[in-house]
Structures are given as C-alpha cells and as structure tokens.
Amino acid sequence: MLNDIIKTVADKLADTGVSPVYSAFDGVPAEQKCRGIYTVVGVEDFSSTAPVYSLSAVYLPFRTDISIRVTAPKDMSAEKLFGYYSSKIAPALDDLSGLSCSLSKLTLKYDSNISRLVLTAILSAGGVTRIERSLS
C-alpha cells in the first residue's frame, strides 16, 4: 500500500525529469546515495477510514502526508535548490494536485548529519486502496 503511493509519486517526478528518486523505505544509507542532487519520497502520516463495499471489491479510503525530500550537493545554494524545485518538482506536484491532494508544506533546512541543504515538500493526499473480493 505505502510502496504503491511512493511509486506513484516517484513515477510522476521521473516524468518531469527528476532523477535520481529513491524510496524512503529502500534502506539505502545517505552516504551511498547520489553525491549530486537527489530526491527521496516517503510517507509521513497515514490514516484510513471505514471500508466501502461493493460486490466485487472493497475500497479502503485513506489520507496521507507524502514527503518529498530534495537533498542538495554540498556546494549548491538555496537559490539553486529552489530553482530545481520550481522547474522539476513543482510541475509534478501540480499534476498530482486536485480536490483531495495539495501541497501543504514546504521547508528548507540544513541537515547537519550530512552537511547538506534539504528542501522538503509535504503533499497532503487522499486516495483509495481497491481490494478485490474472492467469490466464495
């Protein structure tokens, strides 16, 4: 379920030229990731409501906060990082945005652990998990 959500966002980012894109759950340490600019997609918060039933499927509505963390190389300025966000990330988020999906937060922080600037976008999203019912 969470991997599907991450894959959807990662694929959308790839469509607008964002590369490389990692999943927050891939277990790859930061030092082994790309030395240049890279993006990590994760799920910050997840909640689902009561299922909706049909004869052939069960639909599980959910709400989630998806984090998109863009980590800059050591020598990249905040201005260039924002430029990268505007040209590559923002179009993908605009495409995903709709009645139940919107950008809820954008922060820029210096991560002292890896000595790099990290721009984080939180996408508040809703959706549904469709579970096929077995006929027995």
Partner: protein, 132 residues
C-alpha cells in the same frame, strides 16, 4: 486476492450554469416524493396520492475572475430573477430544465469567491451523450 492503491487526482469539474462557469468542487443532490395518506376503515394507512417534487442539486466551487471579481454574483442574481430554464451537465449526467432556487457567494478577502448554487429541476435526469 489482489489489491492496488491509487492517489486521487480528481480535478474540479467545469459546470456551465447559464453564462457562469463554476469549477465544481462539491456536488449534492436530493429528491423527494410527497405522499398523501388517509386512514383506512381497518385502522391502517393508505396512500391516496403521491407526487415527486423537483430534484434539487447544489454545486459548490470557487470562482476567480480578475476583471470582474463579483461578476458571477450579478449573473446568478439576474438568472434567479428571470428564470429561463437551462440544462446542467455534471460528470456524465444531464439535469434538464434547471432554474436557480438559491445561491450564495462568499468573498473572504482572497483572489476568488466561494460560490454555492442550488438548482431545481422537475425533469428526469439523463445520461450525457458521449462525444466520439
């Protein structure tokens, strides 16, 4: 058993209400039947008459108009006062011969106004024709 998860990317749907186009973010519909009952000699109740009331639909959305920020208010108010029935199409359904029963427009200081329009129609709801 298979399962797949999708993020909803549904966008607001443009709905033409006369000359106003409202990008509809919320839709609400209701219909009712009035029933006249009488007491039977046996002590039970019998329905002596029944009739469907107009279907009521409420469309809610936001309108951003740089040239005439409150232009929609004027248009909707004029349509309400001189009711000329019009068809409304929303997500594959056509509501024929609608008239505006009420509307609200809320300017909260943003660059858009929040508009809610309630329409009534006495006609049957139809399926929209699919364009090929």
């Amino acid at each position: 058993m298979s399962a797949f998860t999708v993020i909803s990317t549904r966008k607001a749907v443009p709905v033409a209400i006369g000359s106003v186009t409202l990008y509809c973010e919320s839709f609400w519909a209701a219909a009712a039947m009035t029933v006249t009952e009488a007491s039977a000699v046996s002590g039970g109740g019998i329905v002596t008459n029944s009739a469907p009331r107009c279907e009521k639909i409420t469309l809610t959305g936001r309108i951003a108009d740089e040239e005439q920020p409150l232009g929609a208010v004027m248009e909707l108010n004029n349509m309400l006062r001189a009711p000329e029935p019009f068809d409304v199409e929303y997500r594959g359904l056509v509501f024929p011969d609608c008239v505006i029963q009420s509307f609200t427009a809320d300017d909260k200081g943003c660059d858009y106004i929040e508009v809610s329009v309630t329409l009534i129609t006495p006609e049957l709801t139809e399926q929209a024709e699919v364009e090929e």
